[in-house]
């Protein structure tokens, strides 16, 4: 097989290295060699849309759809190939040598692509969900003033996400990371005419940036300690217990995880995600539910050998599992009280991300990523369905909805499928993945995870109840009862409902790829990597926990039904739900935003202000008063003698002197460049002469 350099090799002089662990060979090998096309095609589509999009018949949508369709097909082909023969191929192309750091070798700027089970799974998620969402967005964004720009940004996001996923080195990963950040900023602020949307975009960006500091610190520590930014090299160093790395691994792992917390919106960085719902719903669906926010989980998965039990940074796991546990419960609770349907889903997303993170923290690599996989489908679906509702009702608020199942049957049915899947009811996909997480947590608790794992297991079971509860509430408030809004709701066009059905189908069956102990291809997909995972994965189906989980979910549904079933939507009825203490807490989202504003920004601002006031009041005023008193005493004396006789004379002399001198010196300021240049050269000569003489 000849070496296929790809476009990037145009930057001549770079070396092209291939690392093949499991060579698929043949056509599949070609497929893997050309995998660089996966991120490049959407990025090219972005440029093409920007350049010619507006002149195309469908205003650039066709380019975006074509690109994402290409990705979807390519990803599915790779998935099937990987299913048949597991593969793990890495390509690295040297772009430039950055130069060497003292004491270390050359740091090389590389570009490359890694094709293994993990990245293929992510391609599939991005490609397939993306394909449905792009299709849906055609209908949703129809008539928008910045229709073309929307798809350019969306395509940019897809490209960036794929750059991130395909990255075999940390620098490229950061490039992708920031590309999706930019795309997220652009898309959250898509309707920037409204100031709130603008603010939300900025908030998301800044929150992520703060967390990114952690990522950068982690990457720099790893790169400099190992001497290479290649993930493979880093993980090799981990595997051979490199002593230099061992010393800093905890901090590097923590830094990376902080970055992951930002992107995956773990507490306390979760505040940006609900606000990000200001963007168009397809954006919320693809980026802020299915793919982008899972980048953090992906990062942890990609660097998993670092975190795994026995890995160098396995102390971080406790932080990970606690962050996940806290997020999954607390954000789930907030979802209970939201009126905005997208916010409900957003907090639900936070909660589910908490599940994934917790699973990673429990060392359950497969379980966390499996939940990522299924969640992408059903949460993408839920957002799209919510978007369809919003499209029909022209409001985000559930208090303006109700009874929509009669008007929007397709949306209703698909939303219901998504909700049930999210709640984790057998046999839909959510059941399998959530159950695996519970099983893994329990497994971890009994295998050295300690109290943290046990605590989080309890939280997760509680979370399952809450999940079912708020989804039931959302379904009832939206689709049952009387219609409370204005106008006439209508079903969305077919370009929007077909993707709903497509995703609904996937949400229903996606769980069957990993039935513990029966049929587990998903586990095998993820296992095809260069570095072996020490996966704390529960081997079989934990019947007890499955039963408990299902029972809890059913209980949640029952409770929700009881509360919200019959015309639940009247305001008075819903107020029954307001628990005296908890409700305000939840409504204000645990005062996190207030905390940040008043707790972090405020304390910085406050003391400065107070200090200034204090200085002014006490120090300066005191000094001034003292001086005043002294001066009043002195002046009488001084006026007579010093001022009148001494100073006035001196001042007059000085003033006259200054005036004269100014007149003289001013002539040097001719404004003529050449005189300045002459002075410059003369000065340089004097300097050099001085240097030569005195050295």
């Amino acid at each position: 097989m000849t070496t296929l350099l790809g476009l990037l090799a145009l930057a001549e002089g770079g070396e092209h290295a291939v690392e093949v662990v499991t060579d698929p060979g043949g056509f599949v090998g070609v497929l893997a060699d050309f995998a660089w096309l996966i991120p490049v095609v959407p990025l090219l589509a972005t440029f093409a849309i920007v350049l010619v999009g507006k002149r195309l018949p469908l205003k650039g949508w066709e380019l975006a759809e074509g690109a994402i369709g290409f990705v979807a097909i390519y990803a599915v082909a790779l998935l099937i190939a990987n299913w048949v023969t597991p593969m793990a191929v890495e390509h690295h192309i040297e772009i430039s040598r950055i130069g060497s750091l003292p004491g270390l070798g050359d740091l090389v700027l590389e570009w490359g692509w890694v094709v293994d089970g993990l990245s293929i799974m992510m391609f599939t998620v991005v490609g397939v969900v993306g394909f449905f969402v792009f299709t849906y967005a055609k209908g949703y964004m129809e008539g928008d003033v910045r229709f073309t720009f929307f798809f350019a940004s969306f395509s940019l996001f897809a490209g960036g996400m794929l750059v991130l996923v395909i990255a075999p080195n940390l620098i490229q990963l950061i490039v992708g990371w920031e590309l999706v950040g930019v795309a997220s900023y652009l898309l959250i602020g898509h309707w920037w005419e409204d100031h709130d949307n603008n603010a939300a975009a900025i908030k998301a960006f800044i929150t992520n940036k703060i967390a990114d500091v952690g990522l950068f610190v982690g990457v720099i520590i790893l790169g400099i300690t190992v001497g290479s930014f290649r993930i493979t090299d880093v993980l090799d160093a981990v595997a051979r217990h490199d002593s230099a790395l061992a010393a800093v691994a905890f901090w590097a792992g923590l830094g990376l995880f902080i970055g992951a917390m930002g992107k995956s919106a773990q507490m306390p960085f979760h505040v940006w995600l609900p606000d990000a719902m200001a963007g168009p719903t397809p954006v919320s669906s693809l980026m802020h539910a299915a793919t982008m926010v899972t980048a953090g989980v992906y990062l942890v998965g990609r660097m998993f050998p670092l975190y795994q039990t026995g890995g160098m940074a396995d102390d971080v796991k406790t932080i990970i599992i606690l962050a996940g546990g806290a997020t999954l419960l607390l954000t789930g609770l907030i979802a209970l009280v939201q009126d905005d349907i997208k916010k409900v889903l957003a907090y639900s997303t936070l909660s589910q991300l908490g599940y994934m993170t917790a699973a990673m923290g429990a060392g359950a690599y497969t379980a966390g990523l499996f939940h990522l996989f299924t969640h992408a489908f059903f949460k993408g679906l839920l957002f799209l369905a919510a978007g369809s509702v919003i499209h029909g009702v022209h409001s985000n608020n559930m208090s303006d909805m109700g009874g929509l199942r009669r008007f929007m049957p397709s949306t209703y049915k698909t939303f219901l499928i998504g909700s049930v899947a999210l709640a984790g009811i057998f046999p839909l996909s959510g059941f399998w993945s959530k159950d695996e997480i519970l099983a893994s947590l329990s497994n971890d608790a009994s295998h050295g995870g300690g109290a943290a794992a046990t605590l989080v297991l309890v939280l997760a079971i509680l979370g399952a109840f809450i999940t079912a509860f708020y989804m039931t509430r959302a379904v009832y408030l939206t689709f049952f009862g009387e219609y409370r809004g204005d106008g006439h709701p209508h079903e969305s066009p077919r370009v929007m409902t077909y993707p709903l059905w497509g995703l609904a189908a996937l949400a229903a069956v996606a769980g069957f790829v990993n039935i513990p102990g029966v049929y587990t291809p998903f586990t095998e997909w993820l296992a095809s990597r260069i570095h072996v995972m020490g996966d704390h994965h529960a081997g079989g189906l934990n019947w007890a926990l499955a039963l408990i989980g299902t029972a809890v979910a059913l209980a949640g549904i029952a409770a929700g039904t009881r509360l919200f079933r019959r015309d639940a939507a009247t305001q008075a009825e819903r107020d029954r739900f307001r628990i005296p203490v908890l409700y305000p807490l939840l409504e204000h989202k645990y005062y996190f935003d207030d905390l940040y504003l008043n707790g972090i920004v405020g304390p910085i601002k406050g003391p400065i202000a107070r200090f200034v006031v204090w200085t002014n009041q006490v120090v300066i005023d005191g000094v001034v008063n003292a001086f005043g008193a002294a001066a009043r005493f002195a002046s009488g004396y001084v006026y007579g003698w010093v001022d009148q006789r001494g100073i006035d004379l001196a001042i007059n002399v000085v003033a006259a002197g200054a005036g004269e001198a100014g007149g003289v010196v001013r002539k040097a300021q001719t404004g003529k460049v050449q005189q300045y240049a002459g002075a410059l050269f003369a000065g340089a000569v004097l300097l050099v002469v001085g240097f030569l003489i005195f050295s």
Binding site: E12, G13, S96, G678, V685, L692
Partner: protein
């Protein structure tokens, strides 16, 4: 190294001829009373520098100087001069400042200092260099120096746009 030793090398004779031509040309450039003559004499100096580059084995740079400087930069100069005003014969307008001695003094001291310091530093070190092939330079430009290369190309693009923006007439006016 004695001058007699130095001058016996045929290459040094060639160098001397070229160098004297260049210096003479350079003096004309800064003293002539005619703008166009000044620009045309600059061509002689640049041609001389290209010849020196050939002597030093820097073939690509030599032809690049011819192509860019003589073929484009000087032509651009002449173009600019002729568009603004193209005096034929002696220019009636004063081209120099009244006082010439202070600049001459500064220039002289710059020369003395530079020549002094290079002589101090290099004495009579021989040039060892052989020909560096053009493809080697190409490889270097695109690997080790790729970032400065991109930066320079960006500068050039910016200059292009800037030049257009500055020089074009606003069609509304």
């Amino acid at each position: 190294m004695a001058f007699s030793d130095w001058i016996t090398d045929a290459r040094n004779i060639v160098f001397l001829v070229i160098a004297l031509t260049m210096v003479g040309g350079a003096l004309v450039v800064v003293t002539t009373r005619n703008v166009v003559h000044s620009a045309l004499t600059l061509v002689v100096v640049l041609g001389g520098s290209a010849a020196l580059f050939l002597m030093l084995g820097a073939e690509f740079v030599a032809w690049a100087v011819i192509l860019v400087y003589v073929g484009a930069v000087v032509v651009l100069f002449l173009f600019g001069i002729m568009i603004t005003r193209a005096p034929i014969g002696r220019d009636s307008v004063r081209l120099d400042h009244e006082r010439r001695w202070p600049p001459a003094l500064i220039a002289l001291s710059v020369f003395v200092v530079m020549a002094w310091s290079t002589t101090l530093a290099f004495g009579s070190e021989q040039i060892s260099g052989g020909v560096i092939r053009t493809d080697a330079i190409g490889d270097l430009l695109f690997s080790r120096y790729v970032i400065p290369f991109e930066a320079v190309s960006f500068v050039l693009l910016a200059a292009l746009i800037g030049g257009i923006v500055l020089a074009r007439k606003d069609p509304d006016r």
